[in-house]
Point group: C2
Chain length 465, copies 2
């Protein structure tokens, strides 16, 4: 057992000894494992925790939290490790509680269109499990993330424009608080006015208020008809204007994704596609056969008026799967365009009327600089990502990426948008919290202090210490 | 100036003197006005505040809060006085801040489909103002409530099944905290993962965490086609099963309202309608002409299989307006069925699979008792109201109504529903908070304590003192 060098907050060694005594082989201090658990999939510097505990049950989580609380030891929850903003970094050392073995699907209420799951259930696992019910779970970040992690970061993805984010799709939670109590939050009714909205408070709290050990999520009926289309545009502005005008029609498509020229080149290469290299929308319609037909005709008209070409349709499930797999892998694809590089990805969301200006400014920044990069986005929501392909050992490139990323965020906040549409704060976006929230930070701090007075729940995330 | 008899919390007289010095005629201590401001429109006992301040601006609110904070004086916000659960009762005396003169519509962003309003703007005033934009504000509780009040109680109404409640329709807020600070919360982007969801925390906080002085709400496109229909059923169960099966189709109608036989009799009499006296659904479809037609055919088929008669359609705006006016006035209509009575209304919301059982049990309770009553509901959401028509001076009737209402709530909570779908907690539903939330109450209490440490913001509401 090693003494932590990070033990600012408490006696981490004492916690680890007690956890080892209680949990035996469920606890590991192996370096490789700790390093993996301190990292996400972004450019943020990993920081390994002092130990990793594999929790098998809510009772495990409660006991572990009680032990850590006794010694003021930081606790960092872990799902699948696909964090984008350094959420998993053990900035003050401590114990990572890995929830990926809590994979029970506790209940599926098909008639109520909801499911109750443990936090380690991934979105794909849930969708496989419920396939025969005629329902699906809609939130799809690129990664096959855990539903616990998606709840903690208020994740969304390509379907959010139609089905909402985790904010709209989590109905109830069980959480273990900073003193190890288990609390049931929310209910399975579609609406409630019965007191403070604790569910929404914990959705997006990134492990800083408590650990999520059970989630009730909404499910949606599998649509009768699903049709995906690809449409290339003469200009980026034409593509974005098509999105804006489509959203203003009222009923959004189920997906409406923008890929810039760079992204299309990368996708063509990585996924062996043959798309025209141009600013492109990937669109998907859900509904009855006639509703999809009618809706698609409206959007095609809008696209044509904005310099869009013909829609190339994918109607068969395997074609659609290939298209969206290519979209979800576009991050990896971009990375292959510059061997040895890493992805430095930012995430902003703006009112739809401001979308064209924000995206064009980000593209102009890229075009005038020395670092290659691409823009993609869940543009139906006003959400877009700029990815800078930087060489990790070139400090001036890292600095330049940070400078450009800050400009993206500053523009977004200036037009009443947000510094993160879906990736969360972690520690990466903390520098933007004050700009975005002003004195609202003090309210957040008061809530954090009230629910975690000793600051052991994922310290250093969301709010500066 | 009179000394308060309720001055448990602080020196109310000193606050009133300071407010009078600062605000002059904006402050009133007239008994009739105070009595009106301590009452809602329900059976709950009114409790007049010690004074009423008519705020004209956010700056007025800040100054008033600071004065009251200095003397630990309770503050109760007031919109249009249409509260259902005693939210306005000055349980500990104090100052009512009437926000009904803050009626500025600050901005309408038609292209982003949102509007920024002061809290005294009513839902009808906003809808009149934006009519020419092709947009509408969707939340419609029966009363012409203020948007500030609707935010504070997380209101909903008949359209929520399709467009969501205030929870889904508030994007941003400005709030004055318990120490008189003005804080901007949220933004105008469609989604954000940038820290704790303070917007959702204040929506439904009933004035207990701060006063809302500005609200950014979502707007929705006016649908191309709106069609309303009335369908009478052989049995209540048939009507409710029609709702359940329709919801399970996926895309809900815009409205789906149940009225029992008693309600229909009352509506016929009050609104001079000639509806068949039977359990009845009022349904409204929004969409394109073809989508409405297709959707309506599906629902008609479901209704026919459940003992529903022909749909009686209202397609013209004035016919629809008459139908929904009758629905919204059904509470007054019920009251006229028993001269001298008052409405004792409860409010529960359950998972849709539990709806038939809950409604039939409530109806059976009514049928076996001595008090007349009716059941109506926003049943597409699983939300229903039982109204007991009690004689206010007959204690045994009040006790019986309370007993029956408690049974409604207990059944709802037992099946993972909620004691309030839309009316809020006020002080009327506090006795059910523990049953519904268990230890979650302690989290709520910690948040309240953190944001309002001296308990001056609408004390005695949501949480017991």
């Amino acid at each position: 057992m090693r003494a932590s060098v990070h033990a600012r907050l408490g006696d981490i060694a004492a916690s680890i000894a007690a956890l080892e005594a209680r949990f035996g082989k469920q606890l590991s201090v192996a370096l490789a494992l700790r390093e993996q658990h301190g990292a996400g999939i972004s450019h943020h510097k990993p920081r390994p925790p002092d130990a990793v505990l594999f929790a098998a049950s809510t009772e495990d989580v409660r006991e572990a939290v009680r032990i850590c609380a006794r010694h003021d030891t930081p606790i960092i929850p872990y799902g699948t490790g696909t964090s984008m903003e350094g959420h998993l970094a053990a900035l003050h050392g401590g114990v990572c509680i890995d929830l990926s073995r809590m994979t029970k699907i506790i209940a599926v209420h098909a008639e109520d269109m909801d499911a109750v799951v443990e936090p380690g259930v991934t979105r794909e696992a849930l969708n496989s499990f419920i396939r025969d019910t005629g329902l699906f779970f809609s939130i799809d970040p690129g990664a096959n993330a855990s539903i616990g992690g998606m709840t903690a970061t208020r994740a969304s993805g390509t379907n959010a424009v139609r089905y909402g984010t985790m904010r709209e799709n989590v109905m109830a939670l069980k959480v273990v608080t900073a003193d190890g109590e288990l609390i049931a939050i929310g209910n399975r009714a579609k609406k409630s006015s019965m007191g403070y909205d604790l569910t929404r408070l914990f959705v997006g709290s990134e492990g800083t208020l408590g650990l999520i050990t059970e989630i009730t999520v909404k499910l949606h009926p599998q649509p009768q008809c699903i049709a995906s289309a690809v449409c290339a545009f003469e200009t980026m502005k034409g593509a974005v204007d098509t999105v804006i005008q489509t959203i203003q029609l009222g009923a959004p498509p189920a997906r409406m994704e923008l890929l810039d020229e760079f992204s299309i080149s990368a996708v063509n290469k990585h996924s062996k596609m043959n798309l025209k290299v141009a600013p492109t929308l990937f669109i998907e319609f859900h509904g009855s056969d006639s509703a999809v037909g009618e809706h698609a005709r409206s959007v095609q008209e809008i696209a044509a008026e904005n310099g869009g070409g013909d829609f190339i349709w994918s109607l068969l499930p395997e074609e659609r799967a290939r298209l969206w797999k290519a979209r979800h892998e576009s991050g990896w694809a971009a990375r292959e365009m510059r061997p040895g590089c890493m992805n430095w990805t930012t995430d902003a969301c703006v009112p739809i009327s401001q979308l064209a200006e924000n995206i064009l400014a980000a593209r102009a920044d890229l075009d005038s600089g020395a670092i290659p990069g691409r823009i993609i986005g869940h543009v139906g929501d006003g959400n877009f990502h700029v990815t800078y392909l930087v060489m990790p050992d070139l400090p001036h490139e890292l600095a330049e990426a940070e400078r450009l990323a800050n400009r993206v965020v500053e523009r977004a906040i200036a037009c009443e948008g947000t510094a993160s549409g879906e990736h969360g704060v972690g520690y990466g976006k903390i520098p933007h919290m004050r700009r975005e929230h002003g004195a609202g930070i003090e309210l957040m701090r008061a809530i954090k202090q009230a629910l975690d007075p000793r600051n052991i729940m994922n310290p250093g995330k969301i709010l500066p210490d």
